[in-house]
Amino acid sequence: MSAPLQVYEPFRAGLPPLIRYWKSLWSRRTFIAEYSRSELREQHFDSVFGQMWLVLNPLLLSAVYFLLIVIIRGSSDSTRYAHLTATLFLFYLVANSLTGGVKSITAGQRLILNTAFPRIMLPISAVVIAIFKFLPTLVVFLAIRTILGLPFSWQMLWAIPVLLIATLLSLGLAITISCINVYFRDISSFLPYLTRTLLYLSPILYEASALKPNLRALEVLNPLFPILDSWSGALVHGQAPQTSHLLTGLAWAVGIFLIGTYFFLSREREFAVRL
């Protein structure tokens, strides 16, 4: 008789065998692609108006916030508008990952109750969807930047590592919050307040240099602060980011990703009885 293909035994607390988990996740990568695609299709982002809305929504948002800045400060210039749009669009990558991720496990209830698969696929898909929504806004930003007549430079390529750090942070946040939402279903109602607070604590409506010295702690305490500042520095001003900023952002992203993933993986085997 051949060896059993699958053996199920009681699990000890902690992580599942990571290599096997990774293999099982990797073999299902088409699920993530297919799920994101059909989710976007369902939200009508495959139609002309759907895609226009994808671009129009952040544009209108940035216009509203720009209006706010003009009224509060009494004046403004084109660099400021470029800064606002660049950081706002990246902020929405993180915010969309959070709002998409929070319900990813509870919404996948039917699938979780009936199929054995690495549950982490669901929050990962939420982040992939957020990335697909982010990409067109990046194109819009580059167009705005050209219209505003800001000079292009090679330093702008620094935006790539910054974007990778932001994506890792989004992934960590989505994984963490999807797991928390299984145990506390009302987290999703707190989420709008959380993202709104994050928005105001980040250098989006203001530039990092305008921050009062007694609030400098934000640069370290808010994971988005160094990321958004470096992003704006690279894309708007064409400056290389401060190494300390990159390292702080990276430390936050890696930290949240590792802690969140640890919690998720050690909990996911009981999701089926918790849903």
């Binding site: 035994e9 199929t115 054995a116 696929m121 085997r269 089926a272």
Partner: protein, 265 residues
């Protein structure tokens, strides 16, 4: 849920369940909230309860056989199926599965009701570990077997429960798994489809697949099963020849051989 990887012979063991115990804690509230947790803080109100779903269950399923599982509601039938399918890890004991398992637990397909039947079949299959090509190869057969016609491209929220059941059964039975687990899915189809799915089950049995059927339809079980296992409160009460086991179960229920329990309800 991979299509058959190996050929298995009749009477070889497909699933072996040894000393299986399953205990878990679950939230009392259907929607556990932070608010409730904060409110009950310091009062010692319990937020979770312990459920002993299965206790010392031993069971073997051989290829070429159909095992029926009966028991009252809450007897642990669905939990047993989920453990065998690898969805919930056991608390005690060991389960060995010699082959690919396709589950049809409580109508698994259609996890996202706003997507079409087609999308749901693909997503369900991909999540279960099939490749795109495998699903594409089977898709036409699935659509034909389900007889849904154009409805396959309509959002699944527009489906009736019978249509759900049809699609779910078609997926599970068409991908030709080594081991097929069917959990009370036959009961919602109409007479014609029920006939058709029973024929498919018999076909799979003679094709040397292993099947586990959870059902309350005693007549069906007498018809197709080689073996029936009776679960009660998480324990295996009796296992053996269908007629004898079903009779013992019906005697236990004190309803005798009334028409109600013999019907496919």
């Amino acid at each position: 849920m991979r299509s058959a990887s190996k050929e298995y012979k009749t009477n070889e063991i497909a699933v072996s369940v040894r000393n299986l115990g399953l205990t878990y804690s679950t939230a009392i509230d259907r929607r556990p909230t932070l608010k409730a947790r904060v409110k009950s803080f310091g009062r010692g109100t319990k937020q979770t309860r312990i459920i002993r779903a299965l206790d010392n269950v031993n069971l073997d399923v051989e290829y070429g056989h159909v095992l029926g599982v009966i028991g009252t509601n809450g007897a642990g039938k669905s939990s047993l199926m989920r453990v065998i399918a690898g969805i919930i890890p056991p608390s005690q004991g060991r389960i060995e599965v010699f082959g690919s398992v396709s589950t049809l637990l409580a109508l698994g397909v259609g996890f996202n009701p706003s997507m079409s039947g087609r999308d749901n079949v693909f997503l369900g299959g991909l999540a279960a570990g099939m490749t795109r090509d495998e699903i594409e190869a089977h898709f036409q057969e699935i659509a034909d077997f389900s007889e849904l016609g154009d409805a396959i491209d309509a959002p699944m929220r527009t489906y009736s429960s019978g249509m759900y059941a049809r699609l779910a059964f078609s997926v599970a039975a068409t991908v030709r798994p080594d081991i097929l687990i069917v959990d009370e899915a036959l009961s919602t189809g109409d007479a014609k489809f029920k006939e058709k799915s029973l024929n498919r089950i018999k076909e799979l049995r003679s094709d040397d697949r292993a099947l586990i059927l959870v059902s309350h339809a005693m007549a069906t079980l007498r018809d197709v099963c080689n073996d029936v296992a009776w679960l009660h409160q998480g324990r295996l009460v009796q296992r053996g020849e269908p007629n004898a086991t079903i009779e013992a179960y019906q005697e236990f229920l004190q309803v005798g051989k009334s028409a109600v329990i013999d019907e496919d309800l």
